[in-house]
Point group: C2
Chain length 477, copies 2
C-alpha cells in the first residue's frame, strides 16, 4: 500500500484507508530483511571489521532535510545496505576483539523481532503481565545459574552504567541525610560509569575515591580501609563501595570477600560491578569468583556483554529492592497510574527512573532456552580456552610479553618496545580491517587488549589474528 501523497484532503483519505504499512507489505519487506540478516551473519567475515570512513562522510551523503513524502521501503532497505552498512563497525565480526567484545546470537535477534512487534511497555504489571513475569522468571533462572542468593530481586536496565546509577541512588537513600558529605569508593581500575553514576547522583568529584590496586590490578583492601578511616577522621561519611569483577582494562577481580567485610564493618552499600566477568560464574569452575556476592546490596551482570544477548540488557540484582523503591517514591502515586495499579504484582517502574520499559526479557529468555546452561558454558569455556592459547603464543614469542594475568577471555599484551611502537602495532593491525583490538594502559605502559566474546569466534580466527599481529610486529621499527 502506498503512502498518501496526493492533493485530496486528508479526511477523505483516512475514511477509506489506513495510511500505514499493511501487514502484507510488512511481510514481504521483513522476509527480504531476514534474508539480508542471514546472509550478513553467514558472510560477516567478508566485511572489514572497522570501516575506512572519516567523520562526517555518512552525514554528508544523506539529505540534509527529511523527505516531504514517503519513500518505498525497497529504497530505504537499499540505502541501508549501500550507505549505512559501509559505515558500520562490525561488533558482530568474529575478529572484533576490542573493548569487551559483545555478542548477540540468532535466538536473541528473534526475541528482539518479537519484542519490537508486540511493542509492550510494562511500566506496570497490568500493562504487560507477560513482560513483567518473564523478566522475573528469566532473571530468576540466571540468578540460579550464577549461584546468587534466592532472595535477590532482579530487574533489567539498559546498561551497567544505568544499573550502577540506581545502585548509587539506593546507597545514598540508605545513608539517610547526614550533615557530612557522602564518600564513594571504587578502584582506580573501575569503569568510568561508576564515576559517572556518582556524579549524576550528586556526589561531588572530590568525594569519589579511587583506591589503588595491587600488582594484579585488584583493589587493595588495606588501602580501602585506610581511605575510609581518613574520611571518617575528616568528618566525612563513607556510604558506598563498588568493587569490580572483571575490570575493563585487564579483567582483574577485586577481592570481594575482604571488601565485603569492610563494607559490613562500616555499614557501606556494597555494589558489585560484575558486568563483564559475572557470566563466567555460570561455569562451575568459575563459580568461586562470586564468593562474597552474598554480602552485596546490589550486583550487576551484563547478558549483552558475554551472554549472547543483543544490546541492551543489563541485569541488576539486589537484596534490598525496597530501598530502590523508597529512593524514587513520590508521596502519592499519580492519578493516571493509580487507576491501573495492582497490589499483588510487581510494577517494575517503581524501582527505576525510567517509567517506560521495553520487553527486553524476551530476548534473554530465547537465549537462555536455546543454549541451555551447558550450551552457554561450553561457549564460554571455548572463549577462555582460545584466550589462553593466544596467551601461550604471546609468551612463547620473545618479542612480546603478557601485561596482565589471563583470567577470562581477555588477553593484555605488548611488544617489548616503546609505547609508540605498541600504538603503531595496534593501529596497523586495525587498519587492515582483518581484526580489531583496542588498547589501554597498565603499569604506565600502553598495552594491546584482545577480548574474545563473539559467539562465532573460532580457533582459526584467533590463530590468524595472532599471525597478523606477529607479521605486523615484524614491520615495526
Amino acid at each position: 500500500m502506498q503512502v498518501y501523497v496526493g492533493p485530496e484532503p486528508a479526511s477523505v483519505i483516512l475514511k477509506v484507508m489506513s495510511p500505514h504499512m499493511s501487514p502484507e507489505e510488512f511481510r514481504a519487506a521483513a522476509h527480504q530483511t531476514v534474508d539480508w540478516i542471514a546472509d550478513y551473519l553467514r558472510d560477516v567475515r567478508r566485511y572489514p571489521v572497522t570501516p575506512k570512513v572519516e567523520p562526517g562522510v555518512l552525514a554528508e551523503r544523506l539529505p540534509a532535510q527529511g523527505p516531504e513524502h514517503g519513500e518505498p521501503i525497497e529504497k530505504i532497505l537499499a540505502d541501508f545496505r549501500e550507505l549505512i552498512v559501509p559505515g558500520v563497525t562490525h561488533w558482530n565480526h568474529p575478529r572484533f576483539f576490542g573493548y569487551f567484545s559483545i555478542s548477540g546470537s540468532g535466538p536473541g535477534i528473534l526475541g528482539e523481532m518479537l519484542a519490537a512487534a508486540l511493542n509492550v511497555n510494562h511500566m506496570l504489571w497490568k500493562t504487560g503481565p507477560s513482560a513483567t513475569e518473564l523478566e522475573q522468571v528469566s532473571l530468576g533462572w540466571l540468578r540460579q545459574w550464577l549461584g546468587l542468593p534466592e532472595q535477590f530481586f532482579g530487574m533489567i536496565h539498559d546498561t551497567a552504567s544505568t544499573a550502577g546509577l540506581h545502585a548509587v541512588i539506593a546507597a545514598r537513600e540508605a545513608a539517610g541525610q547526614p550533615d557530612a558529605p557522602l564518600v564513594l569508593y571504587t578502584s582506580e581500575h573501575a569503569n568510568l560509569s561508576i564515576d559517572r553514576a556518582a556524579l549524576a547522583a550528586g556526589i561531588g568529584r572530590g568525594n569519589i575515591r579511587h583506591i589503588p590496586v595491587d600488582d594484579e590490578f585488584r583493589m587493595r583492601p588495606e588501602a580501602l580501609a585506610a581511605a575510609i578511616k581518613a574520611d571518617l577522621d575528616a568528618g566525612r561519611k563513607p556510604f558506598c563501595v563498588v568493587p569490580t569483577l572483571g575490570t575493563t582494562s585487564s579483567s582483574s577481580l577485586d577481592p570481594l570477600p575482604e571488601i565485603g567485610a569492610i563494607a559490613q564493618r562500616h555499614n557501606l552499600w556494597l555494589h558489585v560491578d560484575a558486568a563483564y566477568a559475572g557470566p563466567a560464574a555460570v561455569l562451575e569452575e568459575y563459580r568461586h569468583i562470586l564468593a562474597g556476592a552474598e554480602l552485596a546490596d546490589s550486583i550487576v551482570v551484563n547478558p549483552h556483554k558475554w551472554l549472547f544477548t543483543p544490546v541492551d540488557l543489563s541485569a541488576l540484582y539486589t537484596r534490598r529492592p525496597e530501598v530502590f523503591r523508597q529512593a524514587l517514591s513520590l508521596e502519592q502515586a499519580p492519578a493516571y497510574l493509580q487507576a491501573a495499579g495492582s497490589a499483588s504484582a510487581v510494577n517494575f517502574s517503581d524501582y527505576s527512573v525510567a517509567l517506560g520499559r521495553r520487553f527486553r526479557a524476551l530476548k534473554l529468555w530465547f537465549v537462555l532456552r536455546y543454549f541451555g546452561r551447558q550450551g552457554i558454558a561450553e561457549i564460554l569455556r571455548g572463549h577462555i580456552r582460545m584466550a589462553r592459547e593466544f596467551a601461550a603464543g604471546v609468551s612463547a614469542d620473545s618479542r612480546f610479553e603478557l601485561a596482565a594475568p589471563v583470567l577470562f577471555s581477555l588477553v593484555c599484551f605488548r611488544l617489548r618496545a616503546s609505547d609508540d611502537q605498541n600504538r603503531q602495532l595496534l593501529e596497523r593491525v586495525n587498519a587492515t580491517g582483518a581484526a580489531f583490538l583496542s588498547g589501554t594502559t597498565l603499569r604506565g605502559k600502553f598495552v594491546l587488549r584482545l577480548a574474545i566474546g563473539n559467539i562465532a569466534t573460532n580457533d582459526n580466527d584467533v590463530a590468524q589474528t595472532w599471525e597478523l599481529i606477529r607479521s605486523t610486529a615484524a614491520s615495526i621499527s
Copy 2:
C-alpha cells in the same frame, strides 16, 4: 545445527563446530517469526486488548529453573505463542486507548530487526560511525520538522524519564555549587518522571515545587513567579523549571512563552517536557505549540509515543550540550577509551550516564523516510480528528461530559455521576477486552481517558468503542 548436548569433552566439539545458531537455522526460524508477526499485525483486532490473567499465573506455568540443555527453536517459538502471547497487554491493538497509546509501525520493526542483527554499540563515533551519524541526521530531520532552532544538539535516550534526569543533572551543573539548597519547579500536572529525575539527582523532596494549574490544567505563571520569590526570600536557590507540553492527565499545554520569560529572568534551566504533544508540531497548524521552545535549555520529544517508532526512543535536544558533557566529565578519559578517541567526531557517550548505546536511530530513520513529513502529518491529523469526533459524541450525550479541552488526540470525559460509577464504567468497558481506556483525576473527580495513538486505529474502532461505552453506561446504576 543442534546445540551440543552429548557427553564428549567440549574442547573436541569446539574444534569442529561453532555451537551457535547457524545462519541457515536463523534464516528458517526468522522467516517463521516474520510470518507470525505479519499475521499478528493483520489479526491483532481478534485479541482481547488486555488479557484475563491474574498476577503470577505465567510465572507458575514456566519452569522454576532454566534448562540445563538447549531446546529447539521451534519449541521456544511455540511456547512464545502459547504461554507468552496470552499474557500480553496489546499496546498494538487499535483499540488500546489507555495512558498515551503508543504505536510502532512496520518500518520501525524492520529498523529494530536490523539493529538487533548488527548489534552495534556506538559509545564512541569510532565504534559506530553509521550509528553516530544517523543519530545526528535523523534527529536533525525531526528537529527541522518540529521547527526547533538549528543549533539544538540532539541525542537519543531510552525514555523521556531518562532524558529528563539528564536535563536536571545539566541544570544542577549550570547552577554551580551554591551553598543554598537547589529548588526545581514543575506543575502539579507534570509527569511523575520529573519528580523521579529530581530525586535521582539528589534534589530533596522538600525542594520540588508543584505549581498549581489554572482551569485548563496549565501551570500558572504568576504562581510560578510567586513560588520562586518565596524560595529566594527564604535563602534557597531556584535552578530549574520544567513546563509540560501535553500533560499526562489531560494533554494540557503549560504557557511556555511566559514560563520561559520567568526562567530567563531568574536564570533557571528551562527543560520542556514535550514527550507526548511535541510530535504534533510536525503539523503546520500545531507548530505554534512550540512557541517559546527557542528559549529552552533542553526539550524532550518521544518518537516512541506518537511518531510510530517502537519503544524505546526519546529525543533530547539542547542548546547547551557542553553542560551535559561537563556534568559527567571525568578529570581524564580512561585509558581503555583514550586509545579509541577521535577529536573530530561526536562521541555520544560523553553526554549520558549510559556508556553503551543501541543503534536506535535506525528505526527512526526508517519511520521518517517511509512516511515522510506529510505522511506522518496525515496520520496525526486523523488521530486528532477522530478524537474530536469522539468528543462531539460525548458532548451530544447528556449522560456524559467532557472533563478537559481536547487539544490533541486525548479525550477526558466522565459520566455525570459518582466517581464510583465512573470507575465501574471504566472497569466494565476494559473487562470486555474489546477496548482499553485508562483513568485519572481532574478537579478532584475521576475521569476516563481515551487516547488515540495507534497507527492502525480507524473511525470504526473509535465509533464502536463509543458505542461500547454508551451501552455499558446504561448498565451502571
